[in-house]
Amino acid sequence: MSKSKFMFVYRSDAETETIAPSPEQMQEMMAAWHAWFASLGDSLIEGGDALLPMGLQVQPDGTVTDGPFIEGKEMVGGYSIVQADTIEEAAEMAKGCPMLPMGGNVEVRPFACLE
């Protein structure tokens, strides 16, 4: 059986980010991200990218409004694509995400397509 694809959707709590991390802390977090991705090995299909907080939203009536797109207090900050046998296995992989200790969370979503 071939593995299934999942998207990790990274969300962070807009309110926990009021104290900006220092450059040194950011570099440590960057190292933690690299270490996590390295630990995923071949399971990581695509590192994905980050999304900026600003943007536009087009409404059903065609009007265009300004972002940011915060559902409740949470904002989507980026995504990655992984492969795993089951969604549980993918969720297990997500437990190593460095955003979790910072108050963020990872949504694990299966792709609809079958491969």
């Binding site: 900006a20 991390p21 220092s22 450059p23 040194e24 802390q25 950011m26 570099q27 977090m29 960057m30 190292a31 991200w33 690299h34 991705f37 390295a38 990581l44 695509e46 590192g47 994905g48 990218d49 980050a50 900026l52 900050g77 980026g78 990655s80």
Partner: protein, 416 residues
């Protein structure tokens, strides 16, 4: 794996890049926009944190960060520009400047920022806080931890410095090489304080003390290598810091107690740094110019050589202090010279030298005056006089570690 893979960044890359980027932005947009520059460098770094691990590091990380930071500043200035004619001019000027020019000039911009941040217009109590924040990329909390203070107090000190910049109209672009040469000793003074904060502090944690010393050495190295500031004075200053940095780990025992120079374990010396120190010292002495840092480096060099060889040439150290007293007269230097004289000619001659010092201020405030006097009295067999001097030293010692050092000597005196 995504992009170019997890190419690791060197230690403190973000911290030091932060300083270079702030320098580039303040050079381009003016010192009055220092707060904006700092905020936007922070934005660029956090964007890098969000993106680089996922996409892989960009080919030219510095250029990437600079582009993001500049665009962010421009966006914000555009928003303000409606009410500010000066800013509009700035924006017009922007279109004509290329990013290549900016990236080529990064080190030069940082050099200039060092001079502006160490300018005498910055209030004395703000100097180290500002240097750590702006030149070393520390956050306010990290500065507070390093200087054993509160974030509130550090914020205040930094904003007082920034207010001075607005008044004085200092700009990075306006600094000539000649102006930098004239003001080199002022910059060295601030870096010396920074180094000492790390070297002498017994309160801050070890890792922070090491970082402060490393930062001072890093900035001193910039001065020693830059075209506009290199030469004997900068080489001697760097050599001096390195000679001390060699012994950083040997200075305190496991429990944080101060060890005397003769008690220090040579195995804890950083011999690689020592080679660097001698290399810069040689460079310094091959120049005609002689500064107080030449004298101090000479003394430190001889102490290191003596410890390594097992015999110290005290006459060289006495000469070094004589030179130092001439170039930078101070009763504290005379006091240290007395120790060297005592080693060379015996404690009695050392005590005679003490008598020639104008010690009124030392007598009231400086614990080492009493501690050294007590050491020499004790060596000279005058124990009854040594004891009250040690007690006075204990009263005046500013930290617990220093008090304990005095107690140790007092105990040794009584045990004899």
């Amino acid at each position: 794996m995504a992009g170019s893979g997890p190419r690791q960044l060197v230690d403190h890359y973000f911290r030091h890049e932060s300083a270079r980027l702030i320098a580039a932005l303040t050079r381009r947009f003016g010192m009055r926009h220092l707060p904006l520059a700092e905020d936007d460098v922070q934005v660029a770094l956090s964007r890098a944190l969000a993106s680089w691990p996922k996409r892989g590091n960009p080919d030219d990380p510095t250029r990437w960060l600079l582009t993001v930071a500049i665009n962010h500043v421009v966006d914000q200035l555009r928003r303000e520009s409606r009410k500010d004619a000066l800013t509009t001019e700035h924006l017009a000027d922007l279109e004509t400047r290329s990013l290549d020019q900016e990236t080529d000039q990064l080190d030069d911009s940082l050099l200039r920022l060092i001079f502006v941040c160490c300018d005498p217009c910055v209030p004395a109590e703000s100097q180290l806080a500002l240097a750590l924040k702006t030149l070393c990329g520390f956050s306010v909390r990290e500065v507070a931890r390093a200087l054993v203070s509160t974030t509130d107090s550090i914020e205040k000190r930094i904003s007082r410095a920034k207010a001075r910049f607005r008044h004085q109209g200092l700009e990075l672009e306006g600094l000539s090489n000649e102006a930098m040469r004239l003001r080199l000793s002022q910059v060295q003074h601030v870096l010396y304080l920074l180094f000492n904060e790390g070297y002498s502090s017994t309160q801050a944690e070890r890792i922070i003390r090491v970082e402060l010393c490393e930062e001072a050495v890093r900035l001193a190295l910039i001065l020693a290598e830059a075209e506009g500031t290199r030469g004997g004075a900068s080489s001697a200053f760097l050599a001096l810091l390195l000679f001390h940095a060699v012994r950083l780990d040997a200075r305190l025992d496991e429990g944080g107690a101060i060890l005397l120079f003769e008690e220090q374990d040579l195995r804890k010396w950083d011999l690689k740094l020592l080679r660097e120190a001698y290399r810069w010292f040689e460079a310094a002495t091959s120049e005609p110019e002689v500064t107080r840092y030449h004298a101090e480096a000479l003394i430190a060099a001889e102490h290191c050589r003596g410890k390594l060889n097992g015999t110290t040439d005290w006459s060289r150290i006495v000469d070094g202090y004589a030179l130092l007293c001439r170039l930078a007269p101070s009763p504290i230097h005379q006091l240290n010279q007395a120790i060297a004289i005592a080693h060379l000619h015996g404690p009695q001659r050392g005590l005679q030298h003490l008598e020639s010092i104008d010690s009124r201020r030392l007598d009231e405030h400086y614990y080492l005056w009493h501690a050294i006097r007590a050491d020499l009295l004790s060596l000279n067999g005058q124990k009854e006089e040594a004891e009250p001097a040690y007690r006075r030293a204990w009263d005046l010692a500013p930290t617990q570690a220093e008090k304990e050092l005095v107690i140790r000597k007092l105990d040794a005196l009584e045990a004899e």
